[in-house]
Point group: C2
Chain length 190, copies 2
């Protein structure tokens, strides 16, 4: 398990955790808004969270993943659904429906205030790749050639991220993400 374990399972033995992903996320958000992303070091974050720097990497893979934890959780769930044979378009809509408004939208919505800049573009497109690569095998299983499967998967993923961005910028609760996704998919994949 190289992955960072976000144990919701209650452990009953061993030293209790002193931090959590959420705690670090909150501390980071504050600091990003105060000083900007680039000017905030990992040490700054852990310091505010009241924990040591080493502990940070027990909960977060990288500083750049901090604002995307919920989204990444959703992608894990997406993979699971697809592995169970779910329909691609439907699984995507479920992902969109289950996306918590505040957290995921943060990066896009506050991106300006946090001085994310290029970092935001990269983080977002990385998630696009994650979604695309989750969808691709399912489309392949549907009989598509590798090129076509990958292309269509990329298109779906692109629609999702464009929708999430639009949704975030419009103010997370004010529009329906699924509706935006539907519109985007209709307009590009027909």
């Amino acid at each position: 398990m190289g992955a960072v374990t976000q144990g919701t399972e209650r452990r009953r033995v061993g030293r209790p955790r002193a931090a959590s992903r959420d705690l670090l996320e909150e501390a980071a958000c504050e600091l990003f808004l105060e000083r900007g992303y680039a000017a905030t070091s990992v040490a700054d974050i852990t310091s505010r969270a009241g924990v040591s720097r080493s502990t940070f990497f027990n909960y977060v893979e990288a500083k750049s993943d901090l604002l995307w934890a919920r989204f990444d959780d959703a992608v894990v769930a997406l993979r699971a659904r697809l592995a169970d044979g779910a329909d691609v378009a439907e699984a995507l809509r479920e992902l969109a429906a289950g996306l918590p408004a505040e957290n995921v939208a943060m990066a896009f919505a506050q991106g300006e205030a946090m001085g994310l800049g290029e970092e935001l573009r990269l983080a977002a497109v990385r998630r696009l790749a994650d979604v695309r690569d989750a969808l691709t095998p399912a489309l392949r299983a549907g009989g598509a050639t590798p090129l076509v499967a990958r292309s269509r998967a990329g298109a779906y993923a692109g629609c999702l991220l464009a929708a999430v961005q639009e949704w975030s910028l419009a103010g997370a609760g004010r529009t329906d993400l699924v509706a935006l996704l539907d519109e985007a998919v209709r307009a590009t994949l027909g």
Copy 2:
């Protein structure tokens, strides 16, 4: 000019250059194949190229951009064409047609041998974002809403990169990139 200048213009004054982007690229390729990407430091590259480490950043923005210089050039050209009002689909095909086989395909083709792994995924999807963001304004100018423009631009860009990957893996010269691109676009954007 924050950008790294690849001056083809003959300068007639001042100290002559001791290196070039191509020189560094070649040195890097050798080392990546020998020891792998992660095990090759910037200092290793410049050392083989017979130049100091500082000089590296006069020619390359980052180690991760080394293998993508030609592609990035093509994206610059793409932006120029679109700014001149070229048609989106056509401009993309021109990009594909002009892409030099050996250099761009390197990352995909030798990715395994170089131990690129995740680095390759990230670098590739970063270029997807570059192309997408180049296409988006042109689609917007065509009257599309921001959401739709971005989605369709992403789909086009995804098709391009899927095609490039397929093209590279098949052996750069053995297939026609434009044909692959056409197929991908036909299958996803209709």
